[in-house]
Symmetry: C2
Subunit: 500 residues, 2 copies
């Protein structure tokens, strides 16, 4: 059994983090946040939640409902459900709430005339952008642009962000094959694409990784390799997938094995890139810095740096899918910052959505399509989500919330390590991971059933928490989650694990 | 030359429409709407607009910009640009503004606490729907559900609405092949889909029509057949396309020819459905009631009814793509209402977006996926757009705006017919179409260059107007567009055509 032993980090290096953590309290941003969960029904969901789901089920599938919240009275890290249960939310709408519910500074933005008029006068951004558009983006999304990427295409969701990156990559790849940005399309290309045939609709592919998740539209789903139920019965492009390393934990006890595992995966990956050139060349490689839906799978910075460099070596563009990992939860604003890429080695595309609320693609100017209307649609994003992102980015900066999350994650990881090392939970919990990745922490449980029971019991004990992969529990708290929340979470995890 | 001659409809049947038109004025909803366009710069865009585009171009492609509006001071049917030009807008953000800019009743919604809290507490709707969700949908989107369709999946845009319908159709098709809704997937299916191979990723297709437009993500783009520049260099599924009729105008002068043309297309269409069974069976047929981006191509109600029935005969689901045609502009709430489908013949799926602001799919309960999480994603729509749709639907009903648009369209069509019959515009304008389709009116010009010059000169004369297809001008005014706007539009069309 591979239990992670306690290794509480208390080095000099961690001291600044510790201070940063102490300097921010969620009450700074959400003065009336509850201090503890409140559970008022015997089970969650309670009778009102069950009735609300049944009502929705008359017109929309409710089988995936977890709880039916009352968002109007939820506060900060606490999500209140239809029955009045106030749950500490460490899942955050599938990792999509950055700061909390009803944060006064965000509600103030929502009540501003600027926001209201942007919301009710929605433009076709590609042709009729608002006169404030440059200001909104330059003082918002562009202030957190990953190093080396100064272009930003906005979209409406993570799936369309990834597909936009795919399209840019395919267009740039073909244009490179034509020899120059100005080289014209051939008549055969223009005619064959209208029939969905090559050469106009080219035999090109996107390489992704087993257990990776990149969305559920037809292109992004072809790259997604999370679960069969996400993919079965849906036609897919014949795109290749490579094996992602399965690391053993604790990392420091398996250094050589893990290094060999990563080497094995890199070799297979490069071989796929080579082999595909004959049939379905890889125009782009896409990977999440932490494979999230697929079970929170990590790999070393050097593994990712190799992925990037090998992609380039074989002429493939490189896409870092930061839809779930982006916006601070891993203790850096972007998770790929930890890879140690040098100048010029940056990903060609970084995609974002979820906690950013705005979605889109950061990229370099050389991957702009060579003609207008090639990357174009009606809305091309939503200005109010750009305004919301701008405000959240400002609040994250002012409150130093990325550093705060880095240290909160250190504390949380240490506490969970302590809990999991107890003989009382022996045989239930494995592979605690995410050390040094902020609050982006996960562990496996002995079986999928035990994991599901655990999630349900956590909820009944006041914690809204989520799973991923087959038997994994993933933590995705907000950036305002701090030591006091971590104490409640750890205490409840311990209680529920002992009762399992 | 096939000019449409003047046929002003003044039958008894049209009287109620005429009365309805007179009974509504845009001032009812937008009391301070300007009375005429105001052009203050020599050309449009003016210097401030050009500077704003250049600023945006530092981080985002600006080649598709038309004008840079100031949405804060735009009003009703009038769009004000960065230079202060107030243009009568008959393009409406590519057919996506239903009622006008800064409509007080909509701004009031935007300022409500309900809207603000819904905007800043965005849920993962599939798992954590707000407690008001059933009420919001039942009193909004469901009140205009097409006959026979009582289920509604929400999405974020038209492309994803269409792809959601495709996915539902593929899942239902394969489940039907398995013999029952409860029939399990085979192990081979579950394994092969993870490799994007059949049988798990099946060889199935969506049939669409040449000149059809259904979106620009990878699945929807494979069904889109509008222009090569939309498709070239992007891998596509090997899905079939059928020819859509090219009708001759005026319709009443070409009855036999047009009937023969539709018959020819139906025969080809059925043959494709039959032939595809051997290689790549058609699981779904998708068509717009008026092929819009592709050049405003119309066909008869009986043609569409045949499409629907032939699809069923060959086991294909039928999707009416009402993303652009929906929400009243054609003089009925849904354009497919005019097809005369009997009970049980309804489309299996009707998709919507654009003017509805909310996007999604209406369908029947039998096309719900047989297991949870098969049709699922993080956001599954946006509650504020559902709230906005609800309010707009209420305003459309209270002000009788669908009937208003039907009669405004009659008047506008008659006026344009008069203008186009003048010898002064001879050789410039062809194929006026859209009679009886509300304000969904279009015509062709002698060349793409002449069309583009016309659009630009219209703008310089105070009208923001759009094109489609190769040389087509399409009108897409809002539902508050009335006789006074039609007079300004027609007068300007006449002036500009004469100057061309």
């Amino acid at each position: 059994m591979l239990l992670h032993t306690v290794r509480v980090v208390r080095t000099a290096k961690s001291v600044p983090y510790r201070l940063a953590a102490r300097s921010f309290s969620s009450l700074d941003l959400i003065p009336d946040e509850p201090s503890t969960p409140q559970v008022v029904t015997e089970r969650i969901p309670g009778p009102k939640g069950i009735a609300a789901s049944a009502e929705i089920n008359t017109f929309q599938d409710s089988r995936t409902h977890v709880i039916v919240p009352n968002y109007e009275i939820s506060k900060g890290n606490y999500l209140v459900d239809a029955d009045g249960n106030a749950l500490l939310d460490v899942f955050a709408q599938i990792s999509s709430i950055a700061l909390g519910y009803n944060v006064p500074a965000l509600l103030k933005l929502g009540r501003s005339e600027e926001f209201v008029r942007a919301a009710l006068n929605r433009p076709a951004l590609g042709s009729f952008p608002p006169v404030q558009w440059a200001e909104w983006i330059k003082t918002g999304l562009l202030t957190v642009a990953p190093k080396g990427l100064d272009q930003c295409i906005t979209t409406l969701c993570g799936s369309s962000a990834n597909e936009t990156a795919f399209k840019c990559a395919f267009m740039a790849y073909r244009q490179r094959e034509r020899g120059s940005p100005d080289a014209p399309f051939s008549q055969e290309e223009l005619e064959s694409c209208m029939l969905n045939h090559s050469p106009g609709s080219p035999q090109l592919s996107v390489l992704s990784f087993k257990s990776g998740f990149h969305g559920r539209l037809f292109g992004s789903l072809s790259a997604t390799r999370s679960k069969a139920i996400h993919k079965v019965d849906i036609p897919a492009f014949d795109w290749p997938s490579a094996v992602f390393p399965s690391l053993k934990y604790p990392l420091q006890d398996h250094v050589a094995e893990n290094k060999a595992e990563e080497k094995r995966c890199l070799e297979e990956y490069e071989q796929i890139l080579i082999n595909s050139k004959l049939t379905n060349p890889v125009a782009a490689v896409i990977v999440e810095p932490i494979l999230s839906e697929g079970g929170d799978k990590h790999a070393s910075p050097s593994f990712f740096r190799s992925l990037r460099l090998i992609a380039r070596k074989h002429g493939a563009f490189f896409i870092a899918d930061e839809v779930q990992t982006g916006v601070g939860a891993t203790g850096t604003f972007w998770a790929h910052e930890k890879w140690g890429l040098k100048e010029g080695e940056e990903p060609d595309f970084v995609t974002f959505s979820k906690k950013m609320q705005a979605a889109g693609v950061y990229h370099k100017k050389e991957t702009r399509p060579n003609a207008p209307y090639r990357n174009y649609n009606t809305w091309m994003g939503d200005p109010i989500r750009a305004l919301q992102a701008r405000k959240m980015i400002q609040l994250i900066g002012e409150n130093n919330l990325v550093a705060h999350t880095a240290v909160t994650g250190q504390l949380l990881f240490s506490s969970l390590s302590s809990v999991f090392s107890s003989s009382a939970v022996s045989g239930k919990v494995y592979n605690l991971r995410g050390q040094g990745q902020g609050t982006y922490i996960a562990w496996d449980m002995a079986s999928p059933q035990m994991r599901d029971t655990f999630l349900s019991k956590m909820r009944n004990n006041g914690i809204q928490i989520g799973g991923c992969g087959d038997a994994t529990v993933r933590l995705r708290p907000m950036l305002t989650f701090g030591e006091k929340h971590a104490d409640i979470l750890t205490g409840t995890v311990e209680k529920v694990l002992k009762e399992l």
